[in-house]
């Protein structure tokens, strides 16, 4: 018997693979309902392999943990939303002062640990440093998982392995990830100091800022930059559409590495005022889903099996908001409810577990994904990531940098367009198609 086998008893009601938001939510709900739950995580402690942007929408998490506001490791409540377009040295920034904050910033490793602690307090057993190699199927039924030489048996396995769904691929429920449907993110965490963050960004205690950036920070590749304030650090990162980035790199259009882009953003004249010469305390990268319904697997359930969170393709990226963690938690919760109900009506058969799909499809997660499904085409079109920032920044330059005579807005638009070599007719068509899609 190998390592895992020595640490745990023979048999579980439910094994959950992956102690991310989805796996922790499912484990917590099931343990609370009296199920014997084993939560397996490959990292050294929950959250230790996780990297995201920086903010979480609170309400869906409160549905699972009503004491979230008091107990969770919340760094700051987002009270300022910013969006910038960059082009050369020109930057246009839009700021919205949030009336009622609905999201908070935190470190994902810290938050995942908190969620995993809730699950273990409720009675789940967490075993970390275990890589699950296979989900074991016998006679069409999932009967447990294999890690190295250990076989661990359970009535139900919940796959919460995240975006790299290697187990789901092996099961035949998902294709290998399509580079056109994922993005690669890289980020740095800068130690700025709580007071400096507040002063430089006009935030009071516990108030936070979320800032997305589009334009030449990604050198023409669809994607963007992000900046989130934590308690005393700031996260700064870049996300690139993988399919488009590979294309641009192979054709020689892309010359800067993704870590080079993050460093350029850190050293960008406009942005660097905020962190000054703060040191980098951590750096990393992670894949993420581009959004839309494109990565939802053929089936979300099998006899004895459910898939949740990123593994189930449940993430929305509209370009101005990213909702992954709250979707993951919600799907984990719905999976747990499904399992509880299945045991009340005879067990986790395929038919009883199919209820998960109906629950998901009538939840806000699915409604959001369906409503915004047109977005992924826009988010992968280089046009919007070059032409819009170029035109907008050039337009404002015309309006605000006049010594004597200011152009009219219409004149400025045409002048800016001709300077940037942009066809207004094409722009209008593109914009009309955006309106059509969103």
């Amino acid at each position: 018997m190998g390592d895992v086998g020595r640490k745990v008893p023979e048999r579980f009601d439910v094994i959950v693979v992956g102690a991310g938001p989805a796996g922790c939510a499912a484990s917590y709900m099931l343990a609370k309902s009296g199920f014997k739950v084993l939560l397996l995580e490959r990292g050294r402690g929950p959250g230790s392999k996780e990297l995201y942007g920086g903010r979480i929408y609170a309400q869906p998490l409160r549905d699972v943990w009503p004491d979230l506001d008091k107990k969770a490791p919340i760094h700051r409540w987002v009270t300022k939303e910013r969006f910038s377009f960059t082009w050369g040295s020109r930057v246009v920034t839009l700021e919205y002062r949030v009336g009622r904050s609905v999201s908070f910033t935190t470190y994902l490793p810290e938050m995942a640990k908190w969620m995993a602690d809730r699950a273990t307090e409720a009675g789940a057993l967490l075993v970390d440093e275990v890589v699950v190699d296979d989900i074991v199927v016998r006679d069409g039924r999932v009967v447990g998982v294999r890690s190295g030489t250990d076989f661990l048996r359970a009535d139900v396995v919940i796959d919460a392995e995240g975006v790299n769904r290697i187990l789901l691929e092996k099961l035949g429920l998902a294709e290998r990830l399509d580079p056109g449907k994922v993005a690669i993110g890289a980020k740095e965490v800068l130690r700025v100091g709580e007071g400096a963050i507040n002063d430089r960004l006009g935030l009071s205690k516990k108030e936070g800022l979320a800032w997305l950036v589009a334009g030449d920070v990604t050198e023409g590749v669809p994607g963007g930059g992000f900046i989130y304030t934590m308690k005393d650090t700031i996260s700064v990162g870049i996300v690139l559409h993988v399919g488009r980035a590979v294309e641009a790199a192979e054709k020689g259009f892309l010359r800067t590495s993704i870590h080079g882009m993050v460093e350029k953003l850190r050293l960008h004249n406009y942005f660097k005022q905020i962190w000054g010469d703060a040191d980098v305390v951590e750096y990393g990268g992670h894949l993420t889903i581009e959004g839309g319904l494109g990565l939802v697997p053929k089936k979300l359930y099998m006899d004895g099996f459910l898939v949740v969170g990123d593994a189930a393709g449940l993430l929305l990226n509209t370009g101005y908001t990213i909702r992954g963690v709250d979707f993951a938690v919600t799907s984990g919760k719905l999976a747990a409810e499904t399992v509880v109900e299945a045991f009340n009506v005879g067990g986790p058969t395929e038919e009883n577990l199919s209820v998960y799909e109906s629950k998901l499809k009538s939840s806000f997660v699915w409604r959001e994904l369906v409503k915004h499904r047109g977005i992924s085409e826009i988010m992968s079109d280089p046009y919007y990531f070059t032409v819009l920032p170029a035109l907008l920044t050039s337009l404002l330059k015309k309006l605000f940098e006049a010594d004597y005579e200011e152009p009219t807005i219409m004149d400025a638009v045409f002048e800016a367009a001709s300077e940037e070599d942009i066809s207004i007719a094409k722009l209008l068509l593109k914009l009309a198609s955006v309106v059509g899609r969103v």
Partner: protein, 96 residues
Amino acid sequence: MSTLEKPFKIEDLLQRNIWDVDEEPHIEIPLDDQEGLKKKALALLCPAGCYTLIGDRLIFSYEGCVECGLCRIITPSDKIRWTYPRSGKGVTYRYT
């Protein structure tokens, strides 16, 4: 000029993290035949800079790998063996 005003090399960035590098490479990509590899993309897009292009030749080192999975999905599956490091090895994030 302080060092913080110049771009860091990838090694300097990665050095900030907690590491317990597996003695066994968890990724193998045979580089004798580089046909079909997205060489430039691997060199620019691996967030840990594990792939380097020297002239037209790609070299690879798994040590700074942050296990993101990107190289797995842009390389033909018969040209790469990609697994997770064993027993919690590899990178450990705290603030991400």
